[in-house]
């Protein structure tokens, strides 16, 4: 009787410990999986943060280049990525903030970079060109317009968010 009791309690003991350990193991395996699943979502949020870039009163009808930094997290560490934007006000007073990244292979475009084609954005890599509003000029390599930054104006300051393909902003 006493032996029997002893045996049961040992079984119970094993039961408890094994479920306990198993639970820990399962958690150990599952936690990173959950993290993996959620991580892209978390990252997305970090990327949409808006950063102050310029004073609205400094903007002109001529595109000007503004440099700024955004925090990025890649697989290994967090760092600051330098970014730039070409910003101007159109005839309606609307702010246009263009990404300088050429939609062809990613070089940095310049306003008025090519003397032969004034008032255009010019990409020095394969001579891609865009009109002032960022539309790619047919016959040059870029396949799409320059991306536009999401923006907001608060307290006289211009904040930029993510650059998105035209039509999505």
């Amino acid at each position: 009787m006493s032996e029997n009791k002893h045996r049961v309690s040992r079984r119970q003991f094993l039961n408890y410990t094994l479920t306990g350990v198993g639970g820990f193991m399962a958690a150990g395996i599952l936690m990173p999986m959950v993290r993996f699943a959620l991580d892209p979502i978390l990252k997305e949020e970090a990327g949409t943060e808006m950063v102050p870039v310029a004073q609205v009163k400094d903007l002109t009808t001529e595109p000007q280049r503004f440099d700024f930094k955004v925090k990025v997290k890649d697989a290994w560490y967090e760092s600051e990525e330098p970014k730039s934007a070409w910003v101007y006000k159109d005839e309606k007073g609307e702010v246009i903030a263009l990404s300088p990244i050429c939609t062809h292979l990613g070089c940095t475009v310049n306003w008025n970079g090519d003397k032969a084609h004034p008032n255009q954005f010019f990409c020095p890599c394969h001579f891609g060109r865009y009109t002032k509003d960022g539309t790619n000029i047919p016959g040059t390599p870029p396949p799409a317009p320059l991306h536009r930054y999401e923006y907001k104006v608060k307290d006289g300051k211009l904040y930029l968010g993510k650059a998105k393909p035209r039509g999505e902003v």
């Binding site: 050429c102 062809h104 292979l105 990613g106 070089c107 940095t108 990409c123 020095p124 890599c125 394969h126």
Partner: protein, 151 residues
């Protein structure tokens, strides 16, 4: 483009557009003069990274060509020219070297690629803002030099 899987995939797809290789030339030593060598190398790395960012669609930034300062310059030259010929054979039209090691300037004519050399800047005594300004200035200079080679 950088020496990464992602960029190499792009290179393989868009080969016809990528005709330029940039190689930082970087002296190594751990004896006296190490600090100067490192600070020159660091500067070159800052410069070439920034250039890569701005012109990534046309150029490939390779890992640095490294050599011990005790390696005779004739040996280095031979090795570097071998790299260069290899690259030209795989379809690169321009091979640009960027360095702050003065030695190369003296044997420039013997090189198969184009040399861009910069005086080493004593970064250790500079504050961040000034440092950034210098890198910016030199980058613009180098950028224009590259672009004028292309046209």
């Amino acid at each position: 483009m950088k020496w990464t899987v992602y960029d190499v995939e792009m290179y393989e797809k868009e080969k016809q557009y990528i005709d330029t290789v940039v190689i930082p030339l970087m002296p190594l030593t751990l004896s006296s003069g190490a600090k100067a060598a490192v600070s020159g190398g660091e500067f070159v790395q800052l410069l070439t990274n920034e250039i890569e960012r701005q012109l990534k669609g046309r150029l490939f930034l390779l890992p640095p060509f490294t050599y011990f300062v005790t390696e005779p310059i004739s040996e280095c030259t031979k090795r570097l020219n071998d790299w260069t010929n290899e690259l030209k054979e795989s379809g690169m039209d321009h091979v640009f070297y960027v360095t702050s090691d003065r030695q190369w300037k003296e044997i420039e004519q013997q090189l198969s690629g184009t040399l861009f050399s910069f005086p080493a800047v004593p970064f250790e005594h500079m504050d961040e803002a000034y440092k950034r300004q210098i890198v910016q200035e030199q980058t613009t200079k180098l950028l224009n030099a590259f672009i004028s080679q292309w046209t």
